[in-house]
Amino acid sequence: MATTFNYKRVYVWEMPVRFFHWITVLSITILIVTGFIIANPPAINANVEATNSFWFGYVRAIHFITAYILIANVIFRIYWAFAGNQFANWRNFIPYTKKGIHNILHVLKVDIFLMKDKEHKLYNISIGHNYLAAFSYFIMALFFVLQIMTGLALIADSSSWFLPHAFKWVSTMFGGDILTRYIHHISTWLFMVFIIIHVYLVLFHDYVEARGEASSMISGFKFIRSERLNEDESEIIDKAEKITWKGDKGKAKNKEK
């Protein structure tokens, strides 16, 4: 007879991680939209003099401002990879351990190729990221760096700030702005492909495992089987669990006495 397991809430994504995630979502969305407008602007040729219109300039300004917000965001996340909890730590993102490799193979078999999980092992179920997902974020992090570097190199000569100029060498390395811009453009598509796969797999995990995968990036909590915790239960009773039902009121009062 099938039963539901006892689940415990674990605080997986700390507040800074969640903020990072949603700032990234917003800024990447804005950057993709404005980026494609910049790459191929619609010719809205209203009958105006150039003096009276500046919409394309504003689109570019939004792109640049958002890019700087994203840069600050990424720098913060790199810091948090050292300062955050065990699920935010950089060690999650590079599968350099035996455990990591094993987990990647498991995820590939069971989640991607939908093969039968013959022996259910609790340790195969990841609490934070699974190692394959985390590794994909690591790859994306490299593309973040590539986008930031090519973007700053492209804006260097229109900027008087030292930071873009510090990346001028990227353009030199690629032999000029033409290729640099091209790489910046191509990588954008990769971000979009990533978003589709990422969102789909979040929905997949939530659907199949039902442990709050999707909502975890809002609340910060995920649910894990109580067998995986070794603390005494009473220590982890939180406020929510103290809520009592009408019918239980008497009992609760009795207990207090």
Binding site: N45, V193, I196
Partner: protein, 374 residues
């Protein structure tokens, strides 16, 4: 052809000797200061340098090229600049302009190189083929590599005029059948100034020569070896159509009213935003015009590898080596489609493959639902 006697004269002496007044000379110096991209307070220094500096010998080598750079060079607009070209600098050897030919020409070059060893400027026009021992370009029976190495040995500095000698140009464009390379891939031990363009602006070329001639040092170069005063800004930054760009006013075809009204040519593939050159500020043909001003988008002729970044009239170039005409956007759309398709297929497959687990969870969940306390 200048003689060695003439070389001993300063610029000032040789100009005055030709019947120009001191006033003309000062005008010329002012003009040159502007050419060199220097501020007006530098005029005094330029005058002083021209009064005291000896004329500098120039050897001009032609390799794989179309002579367009020379054509551009001799169209420098100021009469004294024309004099500069033909008399003031000692253009000791240049295939196109010298009177001597055949053995005499080669002898003149050898003599000049020997006499001015370590002091002359070497101007190179054209790329250098390296395939099959460099047989694809030979002058007087010797390969371009050999000739270049010989001339570069005694040069004080090398100026690469035009995109061919600076980047490789059209010979080096895909598939580069002759294995052409720019000068800096062969000569490593000399200061090389890139003066790219197809061709470069005449005043930019003379400006660079004059800078070296007057100050005896290289102008400030950017990270890619180009003189900053001419290649420090994008064509886009000084474009007179720039207000239309910021206003989002774009011409979409060449024959449209928008194009005639001077709207931005960005959507017609203009490479102005990625091209470093002085077209917008200096102009061509006595500053009369430049491509964008004439209604034609910049093709980025002074940029590395610009031939391969085709088509010129599209913002997004084709992906090299794809065979079919495919832009990054085409590939991107296919990738997005594939990702969505894979997600849909996977989600359907999940319902079959994980049927048992999902059903079990549902059953127990339903049971719990029935046990909810009222």
């Amino acid at each position: 052809m200048s003689t060695s006697n003439e070389k001993q004269k300063t610029y000032y002496e040789s100009i005055i000797e030709k019947g120009y007044s001191r006033r003309d000379f000062i005008k010329f110096a002012t003009y040159m200061t502007a050419f060199m991209g220097l501020e007006s307070s530098m005029v005094g220094q330029v005058v002083k340098a021209m009064e005291t500096k000896k004329r500098i010998p120039v050897i001009w080598e032609h390799f794989q090229e179309c002579t367009g750079c020379t054509e551009s060079f001799i169209r420098s607009d100021h009469p004294l600049v024309a004099d500069l070209i033909f008399d003031t600098i000692s253009l000791d050897y240049t295939d196109t302009l010298m009177a001597a030919s055949g053995h005499n020409a080669e002898e003149a070059k050898q003599a000049s190189m020997k006499e001015n060893y370590g002091n002359y400027i070497l101007v190179v026009e054209g790329a250098i083929p390296t395939k099959d021992g460099g047989v694809y370009c030979a002058i007087a029976g010797r390969t371009a590599i050999e000739v270049l190495k010989e001339s570069a040995a005694g040069a004080a500095a090398i100026l690469t005029f035009g995109s061919c000698s600076a980047w490789g140009g059209i010979q080096a464009a895909y598939p580069n059948p002759t294995g052409s390379v720019p000068v800096d891939e062969i000569i490593k031990d000399k200061p090389i100034i890139r003066v790219p363009g197809c061709p470069p602006i005449a005043e930019v070329m003379t400006g660079v020569v004059m800078y070296y001639a007057t100050f005896g040092s290289l102008p400030e170069l950017d990270s890619m070896g180009r003189p900053k005063q001419f290649y420090g800004k994008r064509v886009h930054d000084s474009c007179y159509r720039r207000p239309n760009f910021d206003a989002g006013l774009f011409a979409e075809s060449f024959d449209s009213q928008e194009a005639k009204d001077g709207y931005c040519l960005y959507k017609l593939g203009c490479r102005g935003p990625v091209t470093y050159n002085a077209c917008g500020t200096m102009g061509w043909n006595n500053g009369v015009s430049y491509p964008i001003k004439s209604g034609y988008p910049c093709i980025g002729c002074s940029e590395n590898n610009f031939w391969d970044n085709s088509p010129f009239y599209e913002r997004l170039q084709n992906i090299p080596g794809m065979g079919i005409e495919a832009t990054a956007d085409t590939v991107g759309k296919i990738a997005i489609g594939a990702a969505i398709g894979a997600a849909v297929v996977h989600s359907v497959a999940t319902n079959f493959a994980k049927k048992k687990e999902i059903r079990e969870a549902e059953v127990s969940g339903e049971k719990n639902e029935k046990n909810i306390k009222a």
